[in-house]
């Protein structure tokens, strides 16, 4: 068992790739074999994640900030290594990814054409996402950060809806364009410090006050530029206003499962980048620019909510809601950034609360956004339209669907007792003392959140029934309920008893920041 237990993270990371390669050999006509194989293969990383979870010691120590660490030679010529590890921030994200991928694959059983390529791309996508959360080497981080774009591009461009080509290209160019600055900054840091290893960079980069680079700028200016290069790359992915315009297009045009993963996991990559790289590597700059970050976060909350409210396309509405919800993550991060150097017990507590809220909000949004996108997909599969004006009164026709939709929407809205409330409350509570005005404005945004969600529920479920649906719509199938069940259970559990997850997050953020 030694080789397995010592390489658990590598196994989690590359099982999907291995499965994808194996799928190349399967016959393309055997559609149900392909589907079931992909589903089974994606369950393996999930089970392994549970194994890691069981063996994970929630209390990090200076001697062991990361656990299940693996380190091997990779690109030694430029001092980059294959270095993996998890802590209390990344492990919940790994769990989220390995949980959502099988659900998304199950949701993709409705895909009929080119199932083989579709499933292969999906499994490759999972490796790309997991690698970002697991990497402890900056270059390796970037490798996985970019690699995930390729399968996502093809998933949108090949299996998306009408405007897919435009949306896919916009998505990929936006993200790649944003990553150029990140790539440059990574190269700069690698050259300046002489290593890409994250633990070493944590030690040496923030305190570096002399650059071996003939750039003609002061060190602090270079660092500020590098900081913004990181921030822009991650802000595009989150996305933060005003870098969000790729998102409504990509999410709306992507196939259902693609939207689930986009909203559920890919957006978290950006937020994770803030936590893993920006705050620890640029503490001084983060503190200096915390106000600007908070402003962007609040703008995302308010404009995201207003944007969602204005939509008549159900899927687009949910897409904008992601901007709205991810704004809270950014707000929490900005609050923590503003208090990075605080030493007062009260300040420390506020900072920890804000970060707890941010990380938990990432997890929660992953659950609710994936659920909402799936429910939009369920409706679209039957009605072949997403126009809210066409619906109405569906509760009477589709009682199961209606109940599930209301439950999920309430979690998304932040109803106490469900998960969204806990994390948004923590963010607001943590951010209030330092970013009072921004937090107050965010509360206004929260009001619009309620408005657009209720608007969607009203236009889909209530009011007079559009006659053309009479007798044409069928309720959710067992498979579809199966996709939603784990999400709904987690939403409820996290709303009532979040401690099992928060304990791990709390110890990690208290230790790191």
């Amino acid at each position: 068992m030694e080789p397995v237990t010592n390489h658990l993270l590598s196994l989690i990371l590359f099982t999907p790739t291995a499965a994808a390669v194996f799928m190349l050999l399967l016959p393309r006509e055997k559609i149900s074999l392909l589907r079931n194989f992909a589903l089974a293969a994606s369950l393996i990383p999930f089970i392994l994640t549970l194994v890691v979870w069981a063996g994970f010691n929630p209390q990090p120590t200076a001697a062991m900030p990361f656990q299940f660490v693996e380190k091997a030679e990779w690109y030694s010529a430029i001092r980059a290594s294959y270095h993996l590890g998890v802590d209390g921030i990344s492990l919940p994200m790994v769990l989220l990814t390995t949980l959502l991928t099988p659900l998304a694959i199950l949701a993709s059983y409705s895909i009929q054409e080119r199932v083989k390529s579709y499933m292969i791309l999906f499994l490759l996508l999972e490796t790309g996402m997991l690698g970002v959360f697991l990497a402890l080497d900056l270059l390796l981080f970037f490798v996985f950060w970019e690699v995930g774009l390729v399968p996502m591009y093809f998933l949108i461009a090949q299996w998306g809806s009408k405007n897919r080509n435009y949306a896919a290209l916009k998505f990929v160019l936006y993200t790649m364009g944003g990553s150029l600055g990140l790539l440059l900054a990574i190269q700069l840091m690698g050259v300046a410090v002489g290593s890409f290893d994250l633990l070493e960079l944590y030690q040496r980069w923030p305190g570096l006050n002399e650059l071996s680079i003939p750039i003609g700028l002061s060190v602090s200016t270079v660092k500020a530029i590098a900081f913004w290069a990181f921030v822009v790359a991650f802000a595009i992915k989150v996305p933060v206003w005003p870098f969000h315009t790729w998102l409504p297009d990509a999410h709306t045009e992507a196939p259902t499962a693609g939207s689930m993963i986009l909203a559920g996991v890919l957006l978290k990559l950006g937020a994770y980048g803030f936590l893993r790289l920006v705050l620890p590597l640029f503490p001084a700059e983060s503190q200096q620019f915390a106000g600007a970050l908070a402003f962007l976060g609040v703008a995302a909350i308010i404009f995201g909510a207003l944007g969602a409210w204005a939509q008549n396309d159900f899927k687009r509405l949910i897409a904008y809601s992601s901007i709205n919800h991810m704004g809270f993550v950014v707000l929490g991060i900005a609050a923590a950034a503003g208090m990075l150097n605080t030493t007062s017990p009260v300040g420390l507590l506020d900072k920890t609360i804000a970060l707890n809220g941010a990380v938990l909000q990432m997890f929660n949004h992953g659950l609710s956004a994936a659920g909402m996108f799936f429910l939009v997909g369920v409706l679209y599969d039957r009605a072949h339209t997403r126009d809210l004006n066409e619906f109405g009164g569906l509760y009477a026709v589709l009682p199961v669907y209606g109940s599930v939709l209301i439950f999920t929407a309430m979690a998304s809205l932040g109803l106490p007792g469900l998960n969204g409330f806990v994390s948004e409350f923590l963010v607001v509570r943590g951010a209030w003392p330092v970013l009072t005005l921004a937090t107050a404005l965010a509360m206004i945004g929260l009001f619009f959140t309620g408005a657009y969600i209720l608007k969607a529920l009203k236009m889909v479920l209530h009011g007079p029934l559009n006659g053309r649906w009479q007798g044409h719509l069928t309720d959710m199938t067992r498979r579809e309920v199966l996709v939603m069940a784990p999400l709904m259970i987690l939403m409820l559990v996290l709303g009532v008893w979040p401690a099992w997850l928060l304990d791990m997050i709390n110890r990690a953020v208290a230790f790191l920041f």
């Binding site: 690109y75 430029i78 490798v143 970019e146 290209l169 364009g177 190269q187 700069l188 050259v191 003939p214």
Partner: protein
């Protein structure tokens, strides 16, 4: 005495070329088999070299030396180091692929394969030569098969123009390089063409600064340096598929390699003096080449101009004159060679079936030729420097090298990545996806098994290298060390 494997490597294609010419023209099967056998032999020997080179020892290995024209200081001296060995391997891969994709050449296959072999001998000779005269000899040997193959088997509409332009440009380049080479020969006072001896000649600094541009530029024209790059797209597009693969994949590396071996290694202080100018031109190569590639409507021209852009990165790596930059240049030469060979192979496969290269009249080919589509996508990802493929691990060290000497170059050149991504995604979409034009729906069929072998092999090489860059850096690193040692303190 050990087996003279480098001589065997160079003379295998020469012998094969002669044998082919001696075969009766109607024995097409035998002609192909002989060519394939020679290509396989070259590839096997290249792999043998790859596995037997000792990176721990470094330096030139498998040395062979024989007197040739001793009264002029000319000798037949061969040897390879960590820089040239990957290029030998590259040549082996591309020659083998070139033979496979040309399998169905119906027009005078005897001469076609024979000339292909001579071209192969020429490039292998340059990579292995350790005598300046010998290097030049092999360098010039390529002119005649290159020209003939373009004008005889090339694209009928532009082959005369493309062939003539390419030949004239390269001729001018080699004349300039020859002048510089002769200056080096006489300036050293050693009366020898031995590269290793000349490296130690210790030329005065003014001499180096004066003659470096001749040597470097003369060879770099074949590497596609701006503003002398325009022969490359025209020539490559006019050439038949296998020759495009060999020209863009290997011949451009011959130019770059000779510029490094003769220009930078013999005149290091001249290189330091001129490095900023090279950086400037090479950066223009990268960005301008990518822009021009983006506006092309001819499928093959897109690839032709993308080579100009990518060779710019090689030249940037050279001009940094530091360890990281040179390492990246070495990687990029190999990676780009494999990538562009694959690109041209696929363009040829598409053209052979669709009889057009206009991007606007193509579409939906993924359903007809899925292997070609996947291969082109993989090549495209390499081209845009996507991590996980060989392009990324080659570009990163180039950029890191540039950061150490001229950060602005990194910042500007990285735009090339984004532009490349844009045009690759657009071309992939227009050619391989979307609606298939009705006239193509009838006529286009899948690629052959041999084509699939080529696509699979070259794609696999690029993916393996992307995840395991040490496969090549283990060779290139020691090679770079000895060059950096010549440089003293860098610039």
């Amino acid at each position: 005495m050990q087996f003279p494997i480098l001589s065997a490597l160079i003379f295998t294609p020469i012998v094969a070329g002669v044998v082919l010419l001696a075969l009766p023209a109607e024995q097409k099967d035998w002609i192909r088999r002989v060519a394939l056998a020679a290509a396989v032999l070259i590839l096997l020997m290249a792999f043998k070299l790859y596995f037997s080179y000792d990176p721990g020892k470094g330096g030139y290995q498998f040395l062979e030396e024989a007197a040739w024209l001793p009264q002029f200081g000319i000798s037949y001296k061969l040897g390879i180091d960590g820089i040239s060995l990957p290029l030998v391997l590259l040549s082996g891969l591309v020659i083998f692929s070139g033979v496979l994709v040309s399998w169905n050449v119906e027009d005078r296959p005897r001469e076609f394969f024979s000339f292909l072999m001579f071209l192969g001998a020429s490039v292998l000779g340059v990579f292995c030569a350790l005598d300046l005269f010998l290097l030049f000899f092999f360098f010039e040997l390529a002119v005649f098969p290159k020209y003939l193959m373009i004008v005889v088997w090339g694209y009928p509409k532009t082959r005369e123009y493309g062939g003539m332009k390419l030949t004239l440009y390269l001729f001018i380049g080699s004349v300039i390089a020859l002048v510089g080479t002769l200056a080096v020969y006489f300036g050293s006072g050693l009366r020898t063409f031995d590269l290793l001896a000349l490296e130690q000649a210790g030329f005065p600094i003014e001499f180096q600064r004066l003659w470096f541009p001749f040597v470097f530029l003369g060879f770099a024209i074949l590497g596609g340096i701006f503003p002398f790059h325009s022969w490359a797209p025209d020539g490559h597009v006019a050439a038949p598929t296998a020759i495009s693969m060999l020209l863009a994949g290997v011949e451009m590396k011959v130019g770059a390699f000779a510029a490094l071996r003769v220009g930078i290694q013999l005149l290091p202080e001249g290189a330091q003096y001129w490095a900023p100018a090279i950086l400037l031109l090479a950066t223009i190569n990268v960005v301008y080449g990518a822009f021009i590639a983006m506006v092309q409507t001819d499928f093959k021209y897109v690839i032709g101009f993308s080579s100009v852009s990518h060779m710019g990165l090689v030249l940037i790596g050279f001009a940094t004159l530091n360890r990281d930059g040179l390492l990246g240049a070495g990687m990029q030469m190999f990676s780009h060679g494999v990538m562009t060979a694959l690109f041209f192979a696929i363009v040829g496969m598409v053209y052979d079936r669709a009889h057009t290269r206009e991007i606007g009249s193509l579409g939906g080919l993924v359903r007809k030729m899925p292997w070609a589509a996947v291969g082109f996508i993989i090549g495209g990802l390499v081209s845009m420097g996507m991590p996980g493929f060989s392009g990324f691990v080659s570009e990163i060290p180039v950029f890191m090298g540039a950061w150490q000497v001229a950060p602005l170059v990194s910042v500007v050149a990285i735009l090339g990545i984004l532009i490349t991504a844009a045009y690759i995604f657009l071309v992939v979409r227009r050619v391989f996806f979307g609606e298939i034009p009705p006239e193509l729906d009838q006529s286009v069929g899948d690629v052959s098994g041999k084509d699939k072998l080529v696509i699979g092999m070259l794609s696999l090489v690029m993916i393996l290298l992307g995840w395991f860059p040490s496969l090549l850096t283990r060779l290139i690193e020691p090679g770079v060390h000895s060059i950096v040692a010549l440089m003293g303190g860098g610039w």
